[in-house]
């Protein structure tokens, strides 16, 4: 079910902070591609540059050099007006702490991106019902975030980022604020969305459990990609999970670095 052509191309991405004498290279020449329909994970220890990478792709920060192409368009060179058009419509975000507006009901939160971009409501109606049904949040659509559990909030947030049918979903530690059960439920749903409707997802996480749902994982350290894992066809998740753990153990030079 993999489609042809690259959805996202990250080309030699550099992001430097500070001045010459005190330069930090958060990203030091990262390059990779994402194909349509992929569920890509990015893992790495704190300070490895994974959030910087996601933010560059998310157009939240501008890279020092290098390009990010979405469907062949260099979004890292867009001006702010064009970027607004992309955010929320072509790119969907899923945040660690949900970022729901707590004075809006679940439904209003979900429909907000459409409203901002001035999209058609009748079309959205069906989509909303479908998403809400799938994410099991139909019952709480008219509740306010304060009346929802953490898992419900994140599923509402997921519906919000999917409602505009973005080309790619960027998820930043989506399970970070959830208990294990809710985390597993959310990941199951995300995997389902990826498999059933072929939605491309890029997820940053340091939780190997969550990462085991991905189809491919990039490991990043000190601003460069140093390893890549692919989930084999028909490979069981438990097996993939063990392989991830092994790589994580190698991070930072593995046991050789201890002592």
């Amino acid at each position: 079910m993999v489609r042809q052509g690259k959805l996202l191309e990250v080309q030699d991405l550099q992001k430097h902070y500070g001045k010459k004498n005190n330069l930090t290279k958060a990203l030091n020449g990262v390059r990779f591609d994402i194909l349509p329909g992929e569920f890509l994970g990015i893992m790495g220890p704190s300070g490895s540059g994974k959030t910087t990478l996601l933010n560059c792709i998310a157009t939240i920060i501008k890279p020092t050099s290098g390009r990010v192409l979405l469907n062949g368009k260099n979004i890292s060179a867009f001006d702010s007006r064009d970027l607004s058009e992309y955010r929320g419509s072509r790119i969907g975000y899923l945040f660690q702490d949900f970022e729901l507006l707590d004075n809006l009901t679940g439904q209003e939160n979900i429909l907000l991106p459409l409203a901002i971009h001035g999209m058609n409501y009748t079309k959205a109606r069906g989509k909303l019902e479908e998403l809400a049904g799938y994410l099991e949040i139909t019952e709480i659509l008219n509740k306010f975030p304060a009346q929802m559990s953490g898992g419900q909030k994140q599923r509402v947030a997921a519906a919000r980022c999917l409602i505009s049918e973005p080309d790619i979903v960027l998820a930043d530690e989506p399970t970070g604020a959830l208990d294990t059960r809710s985390a597993k439920a959310l990941m199951n749903k995300l995997e389902g969305i990826n498999k059933d409707s072929g939605r491309t997802i890029l997820m940053v996480s340091h939780d190997p459990n969550a990462a085991s749902f991905c189809s491919r994982i990039l490991f990043i350290q000190d601003g460069v990609i140093f390893h890549e894992l692919r989930r084999k066809q028909e490979e069981r998740r438990e097996r993939f999970y063990e392989r991830i753990l092994k790589v994580l153990a190698q991070l930072g030079g593995g046991s050789a670095n201890v002592l």
Partner: protein, 721 residues
């Protein structure tokens, strides 16, 4: 090191929080204005002849000052709380770094002191300029050049302003500092908006609105139709009902706004419409009581300003002298006074000099059983005629003897007032000699009376008779004319039948109101000499400033000059100036206090709204970051913000306008205020409406700007538009 920190923090709070600082400045300015009233030109002018009343006014102003101090204390407390909430994270940090709490509170007080000094400087400057402007405007409006201008700066006012302001500022800071003292560091560091959005049940909210509307309706009804029942006590009931009604209404409305958000499906997909509505709802629902209180404050301010403005309108009537003819009345030996008035330095100020001779009528010399003198006058026929002319309900009351006493008021029928006055005076009526009255008539260009020897005229003093058109009392003149035609006598004096002359012009007898005569008989000179009780005989020389001189120099200047000459002569005298001054005093005292309170309420309401909005803005600023992550443009967010500000100000304003209109309507129909001078009315009403709108608009713009500034200050990821 710490002094530097204190200085910098104080500077930062002023710059970052203009509204907070502006509030303090306004507080100072309003203190100064009320305290410097005694230095206003018009007050200085009035002090020359109404010093008692002015002293009383200034004492009353101290009460107003204390009241203003009290109200502004809450405002300063509110503003400081807002300011400290903004900085709670910073305080938490200081404590984390090991600063002792005592030290932190001391530092806060020191910062407060610096800010206070600057607010005092700014406020006194602004208050001084405003007071000066008011002083100049009023003296121009009133004095026509006679009230000299002098700088109204008052050292006493400055001192008391400083004391009062520092007092409330430090009380507020001490209270708030104490609160910080007992808070945990965690609370300070991670202070969150802890209120969960409580939207209640739709049914309950509708009930709130209905109940609120019903209470408001009841309050309006009382104000409009039962204004003066129970000596105005019902007004307090109306005020209470209106206040509770407003609070309930706002509470229900705030929560129901959400229904609006979910109802308008079509609009909900237009940009940030839903978000804007929800923000507004949150602002109103979570703080419905204070929104309601601002609405009530604005209502009061509208009513007070309308009242004060209408008082100013009566300034125009100040020169309106329908009834009083004379500018001066001089007492004393009539011969000496007469000579003095024709001396060289005085004569140029005198026109229509007239000696008014009057006194009370003799009685029969015998006393009745109750000690009352037995009257020479028998007016029973006239009384009977007047009683017959009463409208039905009064007539029954009088005839049945149920009505024992009379009150004289403009609402009573004419005959009732006449009965009242005559009953009071006719036992030993005042007598005025015909020649005196003819002098008065001549001065106003009327024909002399030429009474027959058995003829008199009834005189009623226009200053004391609150009746329109004293000249044409239709009931009395009807009775008198009929009697003259039929040759009947309605009255007898000393058993001699007397004819009463109908329709004579009534004018004020003397320059001032000090001669308090309600009614009198104008009698032919021989009859006067015969009937007057020598013990009560009095004579007054009246004159007025020559018309020509008035035309050239205005009334006030020659009047002041003549006053000075008379003063040096040693004669006791009264002048129209006193009357003028008294009227002016009521106008100035009334309008100044009332307008002051009106604008004070308005400013307080606006400040509360502004600070409330900005508090919400600060607590929920993160939402704007989320919005921009969802693709909202900066412009969209600014527009949403402006709408929120607009609605936040308009909602309480709207209800206040309705309530205010009802209040004004009631005051007009119950003659608490009256609008006589129609040509002047609309420009003035317009000017005050503009002033109110201007003040609200200034606050609205300032809030919108600060809010946009807050958005800019949020921790933006660098690339967000």
């Amino acid at each position: 090191m710490f002094s530097k920190l204190i200085y910098r923090n104080a500077k930062r709070s002023r710059r970052e929080n203009l509204i907070y600082f502006a509030t303090l400045v306004v507080a100072v300015a309003s203190f100064y204005m009320i305290l410097s009233l005694g230095k206003q030109d018009v007050i200085l002018f009035l002090r020359e002849f109404e010093s008692d009343a002015i002293d009383k006014l200034l004492t009353e102003m101290n009460i107003v000052y204390v009241f203003a101090l009290f109200i502004l204390f809450f405002l300063v407390l509110f503003a400081n709380r807002y300011q400290l909430n903004r900085r709670s994270k910073e305080f938490g940090l200081y404590l984390m770094l090991g600063m002792r709490k005592e030290r932190l509170v001391r530092q806060l007080l020191a910062e407060g002191f610096i800010t206070s000094i600057l607010a005092l400087a700014g406020g006194i400057l602004i208050g001084g300029i405003l007071a000066e402007m008011i002083s100049l405007t009023v003296s121009k409006l009133v004095g026509q050049g006679i009230i000299g201008h002098q700088i109204s700066l008052s050292v006493n006012a400055i001192i008391f302003t400083i004391i009062g302001f520092l007092l409330i500022q430090f009380t507020a800071l001490a209270i708030l500092g104490g609160r910080i003292f007992y808070q945990e560091i965690h609370q300070l560091l991670y202070e969150q908006m802890d209120e969960t959005t409580d939207m209640g049940h739709v049914k309950g909210n509708i009930l709130h609105i209905l109940l609120g509307a019903a209470l408001l309706g009841a309050a309006y009804w009382i104000v409009l139709y039962r204004f003066s029942d129970f000596a105005g006590l019902l007004l307090f009931v109306a005020l209470a009902l209106g206040s509770i009604g407003t609070i309930l209404f706002m509470r229900g409305l705030g929560k129901l706004l959400g229904l609006l958000a979910s109802l308008s499906k079509h609009k909900s997909l237009q940009g940030l419409h839903t978000f804007t509505l929800r923000q507004f709802q949150e602002n109103v629902a979570n703080r419905s009581t204070s929104v309601a209180v601002t609405s009530i404050l604005i209502t009061l301010s509208i009513i007070l300003i309308a009242n004060g403005a209408s008082t100013i309108l009566s300034l125009d009537g100040l020169y309106n002298r329908n009834s009083s003819v004379y500018d001066f009345t001089v007492n004393g030996d009539s011969k000496k006074v007469g000579e003095f008035l024709s001396t060289g330095k005085m004569v140029s100020y005198v026109e229509d000099a007239n000696l008014l001779e009057m006194g009370k009528m003799k009685d029969e010399g015998e006393r009745m059983e109750d000690g009352m003198p037995l009257s020479l006058v028998d007016w029973s026929k006239l009384k009977e005629q007047l009683t017959m002319a009463l409208p039905a309900p009064y007539k029954e009351q009088v005839l049945s003897g149920e009505m024992q006493s009379y009150d004289i008021s403009s609402e009573n029928p004419e005959a009732l007032n006449l009965l009242g006055v005559l009953e009071m005076d006719t036992t030993t009526p005042h007598l005025i000699s015909e020649s005196s009255y003819n002098g008065l008539l001549k001065a106003v260009g009327e024909q002399p009376l030429n009474l027959n020897s058995d003829e008199i005229a009834l005189y009623f003093n226009p200053d004391f008779m609150p009746m329109e058109n004293l000249d044409q009392m239709p009931v009395l003149n009807g009775i008198l004319e009929k009697a003259v035609k039929e040759g009947r006598s309605l009255l007898s004096i000393d058993d001699q039948a007397i004819i009463i002359r109908p329709s004579i012009p009534m004018r004020g007898l003397v320059a001032d109101r000090s001669v308090e005569i309600f009614s009198a008989f104008v009698v032919p000179d021989p009859m006067f000499k015969q009937l007057v009780n020598p013990d009560t005989y009095a004579s007054y020389w009246n004159f007025r400033i020559p018309q020509k001189m008035q035309a050239q120099q205005g009334l006030m200047k020659p009047m002041m000059e003549a006053r000075d000459i008379l003063k040096s002569s040693g004669f006791a005298f009264e002048s129209y100036l006193q009357n003028f001054g008294r009227k002016l005093f009521y106008i100035v005292a009334g309008s100044y206090t009332v307008l002051y309170m009106g604008f004070l309420f308005l400013i307080i309401a606006c400040t509360v709204l502004a600070l409330q909005f900005l508090t919400q803005m600060k607590q929920t600023g993160g939402r704007y970051v989320t919005l921009s992550m969802l693709g909202a443009k900066r412009q969209q967010m600014k527009k949403s913000m402006q709408k929120q500000v607009l609605w936040t100000f308009l909602l309480p304003m709207f209800l206040a306008c309705v309530s205010g209109a009802v209040g004004i309507k009631a005051m007009i129909s119950f003659v608490v205020i009256h609008f006589e001078d129609v040509p002047f009315l609309y420009p003035l009403a317009f000017a005050f409406a503009c002033m109110v709108i201007f003040i609200v608009a200034i606050y609205g713009v300032a809030v919108a700007r600060s809010a946009v500034h807050e958005i800019d200050k949020l921790r933006w990821k660098p690339n967000i538009d």
